[in-house]
């Protein structure tokens, strides 16, 4: 489980971010004392730091500079300053990513996920039963058979897989797809879902995706 350090001086916002990340299976630590920020961040040894820019005592940029002298930990800058210049500056100080406020939860989660993935990029595969999912190639492999999926179908499958065993509403699914730049409408989702089911049957996975009337879909 990845450990994420939240450095944000607004208490309510900090708690909401913490609750969001806790809920999505991350271990979180929050910084409440901003006097020795750099030491505190480094000593708690996180996998990733969410760093606000406007902070008391040291600014986020200064903290980032100090961190970079000693550590290569992943840092995502969170800021309400949203000029191109701020972004370029942050990246030049060594930030791995930059998100401007108000950020939307799914976007934040996707950014965190993709940054953390860099750490384990060699094993960038997901698994479902005995099926290996390869997002980079957009394929599924089972018992030596390879199944090619379209971008939309892969998106649907990955999302269902992330929530395997629980019901996923059409709304949630659409939101996720749109956040990953798959802009499909309602009808297309139905069509793609049917195609995905047929394709899964080709490699012997029958009826793994069930429709729960009025609720959504579930990957068993």
């Amino acid at each position: 489980m990845a450990k994420i350090m939240i450095v944000e001086d607004d208490q309510t916002l900090r708690e909401e971010v913490k609750s969001l990340l806790d809920h999505h299976g991350y271990e979180t630590i929050t910084l409440t004392n901003f006097i020795d920020s750099v030491e505190e961040i480094l000593s708690s040894n996180p996998d990733l730091v969410l760093l606000d820019i406007t902070l008391p005592t040291l600014s986020g940029e200064q903290i980032l500079k100090e961190i970079r002298k000693k550590s290569d930990v992943f840092v995502i800058m969170l800021t309400s300053k949203n000029t191109e210049m701020d972004e370029v500056l942050s990246m030049s100080y060594g930030a791995d990513d930059y998100i401007s406020k108000p950020y939307h939860p799914t976007i934040l989660l996707l950014h965190i996920e993709s940054i953390l993935k860099r750490r384990e990029h060699h094993e960038d595969t997901l698994k479902y039963q005995d099926v290996i999912v390869n997002p980079l190639k957009s394929t599924l492999e089972r018992k030596g058979q390879t199944l090619l999926l379209s971008k939309n179908e892969l998106g649907i499958f990955v999302y269902l897989l992330k929530h395997v065993g629980t019901i996923v509403t059409r709304d949630d699914l659409m939101n996720y797809l749109w956040d990953t730049n798959v802009f499909i409408d309602d009808n297309t989702l139905t069509v793609n879902m049917n195609r995905l089911r047929k394709k899964l049957e080709e490699i012997g996975l029958e009826n793994v995706i069930e429709t729960r009337r009025g609720q959504g879909y579930i990957l068993l």
Binding site: S19, S80, T83, N181, F183, D185, D186
Partner: protein, 337 residues
């Protein structure tokens, strides 16, 4: 300064001097001075007068001509004083001094207003940064507590209005606060669509994206804002059935053109030329959906700052197309040289 006007201006002096000359001539005749001497004195007197007036005329003409020519070429006429060389004649010196005072006092005023504008803009930027913190919290709360979900459209509106304030302040700023660099149009388009996904999904609008995988020169954040305004109009004025928004690019020799086309209610031909005017809401603005007449005005203003051209085409009841022309790299290299 024309000779004729100069003479007209000096007519009293000329009349007086000639009068006195004639009087002196008359007196000389009365005292029976030799006619030859009278003629000679007469000619001499006229010569003196002529050279006196010519000298004065040339001195002034030279000063005023230089000044007026400089003024003509000046883009900002109020800077005229800076181009004035100090005249050598007395009344010119008075004028020079007076203009110096006036120009100094005007500069102080301009500086004061400039400072006020900058202060105001900085305050707006600060305020916007501050307000985004509780806004972020609200958005996270909605996600963490699904029962708050119905606040989403309202929060989205607040977010959009805040952006408008920010860019309004920026569009009026005199200093340059954008950064033009190579920007992926695809990234910008994707970000903007994602931002508006709730409303697009709510109205069941079909999105079509075609060959936007190109790089343009722009400030990504400004461009996101502009595209957001355009897209938000397309969504707001979409029809209920089979609504569709298509984003595509056309590659021209000198520029890359982004086309945002919708099959919405369109714009009346009489309104079309004015849609980029400030506070213009037109027929569509009165049909329900709230409209401030600021969105497209800001788009145009920001576009011209970034060196982009923006145009609209529409057929009432059928479609609206907005074109944004991005100059190609050579253009920027050309201006840099």
């Amino acid at each position: 300064m024309r000779t004729k006007d100069y003479i007209k201006d000096k007519i009293v002096e000329i009349a007086l001097l000639l009068g006195f000359g004639l009087l002196a001539g008359f007196l000389l005749i009365v005292f029976q001075v030799t006619p030859t001497l009278i003629y000679l004195l007469g000619i001499l007197y006229v010569l003196v007068l002529l050279s006196l007036f010519t000298y004065e005329y040339l001195r002034r003409t030279f000063f005023y001509r230089t000044f007026l020519n400089a003024l003509e070429q000046l883009d900002k006429k109020y800077l005229a004083f800076e181009l004035m060389s100090k005249p050598k004649f007395y009344d010119g010196k008075i004028l020079y001094q007076a203009l110096y005072e006036a120009s100094k006092s005007m500069n102080e005023y301009v500086r004061l207003y400039e400072k006020n504008t900058i202060d105001f803009k900085e305050y707006i930027e600060l305020w916007v940064h501050e307000i985004k913190i509780p806004l972020s919290t609200c958005i996270l709360m909605m996600h963490n507590h699904p029962e708050l979900k119905k606040l989403a459209p309202e929060i989205r509106r607040i977010e959009e209005d805040i952006d408008q304030v920010l860019y309004y302040a920026r569009s009026n700023a005199t200093e340059k606060d954008y950064l033009i660099k190579k920007t992926s149009l695809e990234d910008v388009v994707n970000t903007v669509i994602r931002k508006h996904k709730e409303n697009i999904l709510l109205r069941n609008i079909q999105i079509e994206i075609q060959n936007v995988d190109v790089e343009v020169f722009s400030d990504a954040k400004w461009l996101e804002f502009m595209l957001g305004q355009i897209l938000s109009n397309s969504i707001k004025y979409s029809k209920e059935k089979d609504a569709k928004i298509c984003l595509s690019t056309i590659n021209h020799k000198d520029d890359t053109t982004l086309v945002i086309e919708d099959n919405g209610i369109g714009i009346k031909p009489s309104d079309l030329p004015r849609i980029f005017d400030k506070s213009f809401t037109g027929e569509n603005g009165r049909i329900g959906a709230s409209s401030t007449g600021m969105g497209l005005y800001l788009c145009k203003k920001l576009a011209s700052k970034l060196g982009l051209k923006i145009e609209a085409q529409s057929k009432e009841g059928e479609y609206t197309k907005i074109y944004i022309h991005f100059p190609k790299e050579e253009f920027y290299q050309g201006t840099r040289d």
